[in-house]
Symmetry: C2
Subunit: 340 residues, 2 copies
């Protein structure tokens, strides 16, 4: 079975010879090929250059034979396109020096035309399709709520005080920002499908810091609004802490659900029914001996069952991950055959 059929069948719940495998942040620092390119250009320069971005997107495809690529980019291209400055300090996370704290701040943002303002990822997708036509490539974007987190807090945070203050004290401003973001996110994902993405993933990385009540009030409707603008290819929705919201995530309208490593796969299957899922090995398991990794991969695949499962990590691969661990994971998935 070719890579395209394997991925599209798994995301549609149709039979596959084995689960397809790709993994979040598969183009990244743990690969020497990637570090070699990053010695020449900064992270932002890499995100801004479709040919270089295509090159690093190809690296894990070529080295590991994964079943899908994910386009190299960053979720903070959207805040930038809306006029908010984003800085990546060496060795630190992103920083947004002018965080949004009021309705005036929100209204001062541009509502960009996606084709004009965000051309790099579609160009990267087209380059990859020409370079590796046998491998499907996924597009992605941050979910509206997760983008709001960075834009309001001004960077990553432990407690997200500024974000929650806005949600709890000025929900109208938060909702206006979420609505605007949802429209950009949706149009951006749609543009990626038009550029040839075989599917798209929406990362709601920080939704898991919300109570279920606040998730339903803020993150979920915004994700729904974004998803509703996207069609023509499977749409995957991922949260870093899926468990408290597991009974709600399909309300986003997503075609498949990305599960973090804390979710028990068997329980997720029971809760979600026939909805295809993606995941969910603990990224730190890749530091374990190969036999331990393989046993974990097989347990996850057994719990997921043969239909509607895309194998993945439960969060992005870590920068110090040993290549041997990645190889063991992929080998284990490739040992699978369905139906078992």
């Amino acid at each position: 079975m070719d890579h395209h059929t394997r991925l599209s069948n798994a995301l549609a719940g149709l039979p596959v010879d084995r689960p397809p495998v790709w993994f979040m942040r598969q183009a990244g620092r743990y690969m020497a090929e990637y570090r070699a390119i990053r010695e020449k250009v900064s992270f932002l320069e890499l995100c801004a250059d479709a040919e270089l971005a295509c090159e690093v997107t190809c690296q894990p495809v070529d080295r590991f034979g994964v079943d899908a690529a994910i386009v190299f980019s960053d979720i903070l291209t959207i805040p930038e396109a809306m006029g908010q400055e984003v800085v990546f300090d060496q060795g630190h996370g992103p920083r947004l020096p002018s965080p949004l704290r009021s309705l005036d701040d929100v209204r001062a943002l541009r509502q960009p035309d996606v084709a004009d303002a965000l051309p790099v990822v579609p160009a990267t997708l087209r380059s990859f399709r020409a370079a590796r036509p046998h491998v499907p490539i996924l597009g992605f974007a941050g979910a509206p709520f997760t983008l709001l987190c960075y834009m309001v807090e001004g960077g990553g945070s432990r407690n997200w005080l500024h974000v929650k203050r806005m949600l709890f004290s000025d929900p109208a401003t938060a909702t206006e920002l979420l609505d605007r973001l949802a429209d950009v996110v949706g149009d951006y994902l749609q543009a990626q499908i038009q550029a040839g993405a075989a599917g798209v993933q929406m990362f709601d990385t920080w939704a898991g810091m919300l109570s279920v009540e606040d998730y339903q009030r803020f993150a979920l409707p915004a994700a729904q609004r974004a998803m509703a603008r996207v069609s023509g290819a499977p749409r995957i929705y991922f949260t870093r802490d899926t468990s408290p919201f597991l009974h709600l995530v399909t309300q986003t309208g997503a075609d498949a659900i990305g599960l973090d490593w804390r979710v028990d796969m068997a329980r997720a299957r029971a809760e979600l029914g026939a909805v295809p899922v993606q995941g969910n090995l603990d990224p730190v398991a890749l530091y374990a001996p190969a036999e331990e990794i393989k046993a974990r991969v097989h347990r996850i695949c057994d719990a997921a069952g043969p239909l509607g499962h895309v194998f993945n990590l439960g969060h992005g691969v870590l920068p110090t991950t040993p290549l041997t661990g990645v190889e063991a994971m992929i080998e284990a998935v490739k040992e699978r055959s369905s139906p078992r």
Copy 2:
């Protein structure tokens, strides 16, 4: 109804006039009275002095009229009593300069006699009982797995690479350490009950970074082993990310379950049945306007129902929390009357 009856009834699922209320880290930096004492002594000096610890334990009781105190101390007194150095750098979390990485490291630890090695908390409990006899006081300890996290990693961590490496590559060493910790934790909690604690809480703060499989293999049996050594007063088990394990936490043997703010109270009740619960307002909600706080408190109490609910935050109160927010929360709980 007096404070003692209200707390013990709620923790036994018996009728109360309203839910009792206390909150995690209620003696702490957000209070000027506490900061005044910390100007004179360091955190470790405060933890080592039963009279001063009793004084700060009394502060939130006197100011807010909460229904229970929790003894002022730190969970890292146990690693110290076992011979591992613990350092608190100003403005940072704890640091353990000689982390445990091998079976030899684990076997070099002392297995302390709790009465000799950990006398301060029992003394603080006795002082509090004499000073505020009308208010019940809770004892606490870190759960074995959460203590292992600090002892192996050497401090807090984002990904807990060293901890998970030990679990995945050398589970026998991890299990030996967990067993030893469980015995100390259990004996320590029992000593606190003997010193007059009206109940004890075991904090499994970091268990939530584990997959359900690893929770069942490591954190859960260790918590069970510790709990099994404790009797004579209600035992509460808290995890910071309760949701993935909600169907398992009662297997610890705990009499009540502390819920973090991400768990939906109504779903927790449905899952846990008649087991009393404690929680679970988002600590950041205390920065919201009073009316918003009160509405959230009432929704949690409504979802919890009148029996077997101790009101609490879903995690410790934050150092910059406004007192007005704390007051609004407590006022809202005190507005409750049961049965509704």
